[in-house]
């Protein structure tokens, strides 16, 4: 029988990795990801998880070891955050180029400096284009469920790409939430062992990660790009399969609030839960507002997003990262590209909020809504709540 327990979301993720029977965990601790790998090291030490735990000397090594592990055909997991992700940066596009299905939790945290251990999306946005499947979770149950699904997606022979599961640092990673644990046998049914398509094997030698001369490089990049684009139906298929087995449905894009609302908040990550409360309260007050939550960030679910916002004439797009010197925040820029050339494109109001752990409250989202309705956001984007003398 599935059992429901209250525990810290980081620990639930560690349990998900254990129940997914990861064979290699190579990791370096960094706040706020530490509890995940600490718990996994306990599982390995006390024999609950039959895996090799590689306590590496840096995140660069964590990703390098994970790549070596995945290249031998082992189910491989790591986790990081912020500066740790930045230190991995060099290896990330190589992991996707080599088509290695590593699963990594990223406890999203702002990039220093100034030094910050708190949450925003500047870490993940700095590695947007490394060719990984990238998904965002909003709550503890989702963090558990999607972590299990991530192995199945990444290891699918139609995908064979690394996958990053993003969860907001502290705001989600350190929350204590009720999480339902499925039976191990059900997870085993859903997620059989990893069968690699190509492995390092002296009996059948291959060279992985060779030089890509100009006559090959572009074709190599397009192979990965196409694999990432083509992973979308597999992500959907795995999430639907999860729903069929475990009864919890996750879509690439979610909607809530008043149906057919003309103004929609667009969110990604756990701040979406606060917006949900705000939208519910505004709906109760008769406001014409709804919400669209982006779960899958790469590959971007274009058709699903367009269907979700059909009929809306204004999108209030929340970004939790700045793109300094750019036209807008990263999510809003993405959507502006998506709507390019469309006759019935909604107006995009871009609000950058919640950087470096700055709280954004339910009431503030109401204020953001009212400001958007009265045309108060004049610029391409507005950094919400920043104190200024101007």
């Amino acid at each position: 029988m599935a059992k429901r327990v209250g525990l810290e979301v980081s620990l639930a993720v560690a349990d998900a990795v254990k129940m997914s029977k990861a064979e290699v965990v190579s990791a370096y601790p960094i706040t706020p990801q530490t509890h995940i790998v600490e718990e996994l090291s306990h599982f390995v030490a006390n024999g609950e998880l039959d895996a090799a735990f590689i306590p590496v000397e840096s995140e660069h090594s964590a990703m390098s070891a994970a790549m070596g592990s995945a290249a031998t055909g082992a189910r491989t997991y790591t986790a990081t955050s912020s500066q740790g992700l930045a230190l991995m940066n060099e290896m990330l596009p190589i992991a996707s180029a080599m088509r290695l299905p590593i699963v990594m939790t990223i406890a999203n945290r702002s990039l220093s400096g100034p030094i910050s251990i708190w949450n925003d999306h500047s870490d993940i946005m700095s590695i947007r284009d490394v060719g990984w499947v990238q998904i965002f979770v909003e709550n503890g149950q989702e963090a558990f469920d999607i972590s299990v699904c991530a192995f199945k997606i990444a290891e699918d022979h139609r995908v064979l790409l690394p996958m990053g599961v993003n969860m907001d640092g502290f705001m989600l990673s350190h929350m204590i939430e009720p999480v339902e644990f499925p039976d191990q046998s059900d997870i085993d049914d859903f997620l059989p062992g990893f069968t690699a398509k190509m492995i390092l094997d002296p009996a059948e030698p291959v060279t992985m990660g060779p030089v890509g001369v100009p006559e090959v490089y572009m074709e190599a990049k397009v192979q990965c790009e196409q694999a990432l684009i083509n992973s979308k139906p597999v992500v959907k298929e795995v999430l639907d399969g999860f729903a069929a087995k475990f009864g919890r449905q996750y879509n690439l894009v979610e909607t809530n609030g008043k149906e057919g609302a003309k103004t929609l908040f667009v969110t990604m990550g756990s701040l979406g839960e606060t917006v949900m409360t705000s939208v519910d309260e505004m709906n109760a007050d008769g406001k014409d507002v709804g919400q669209v939550r982006i779960r899958l960030w790469r590959p971007f679910p274009q058709e699903e997003f367009l269907a979700a916002v059909k009929g809306a004439d204004k999108l209030i797009v929340l970004d939790r990262a700045l793109s300094p010197g750019g036209v807008r925040g990263p999510v809003a820029s993405e959507l502006a590209s998506l709507f390019h050339g469309q006759a019935d494109a909604p107006e995009i109001v871009n609000v950058v909020a919640g950087l470096g752990g700055r709280d954004v409250s339910v009431d503030e989202f109401k204020e953001i809504y009212e400001t958007a309705q009265s045309g108060g956001f004049k610029d391409a984007y507005t950094v919400w709540g920043v104190m200024s003398n101007a």
Binding site: M98, L160, K197, P205, P210, G212, E219, V222, Q223
Partner: protein, 96 residues
């Protein structure tokens, strides 16, 4: 397909892996050469230092005792000419 490409992206192995062992031998690094070494057999004392120091490992000892490069792989770096204790190797412009 572009004449600048080796093959279509669909035909590349997974992750652009090389699945044929020893295929590096097919990479004729001699294509890179703009200067070619030539040996003065009068000066050469057949010490083999050039063989040891050639970064392409393309110099071998021939039956007559002289050490000569395989021009399929000699990339024309000039290290042999620089290191030869007898100045028996000179680098000349590659003839096209």
């Amino acid at each position: 397909m572009s004449a600048k490409a080796l093959m279509a992206w669909q035909d590349l192995a997974l992750g652009t892996a090389i699945c044929e062992p020893g295929s590096a031998a097919k990479l004729k690094t001699g294509d890179w050469r703009s200067m070619a070494p030539s040996l003065d057999e009068e000066k050469c004392i057949q010490c083999g230092i050039c063989l040891i120091l050639c970064p392409e490992f393309c110099i071998s000892e021939h039956d007559d005792g002289f050490f000569r490069p395989d021009y399929d792989y000699c990339k024309g770096c000039g290290i042999c000419a620089n290191e030869c204790p007898k100045d028996a190797i000179t680098m000349g412009r590659e003839e096209k």
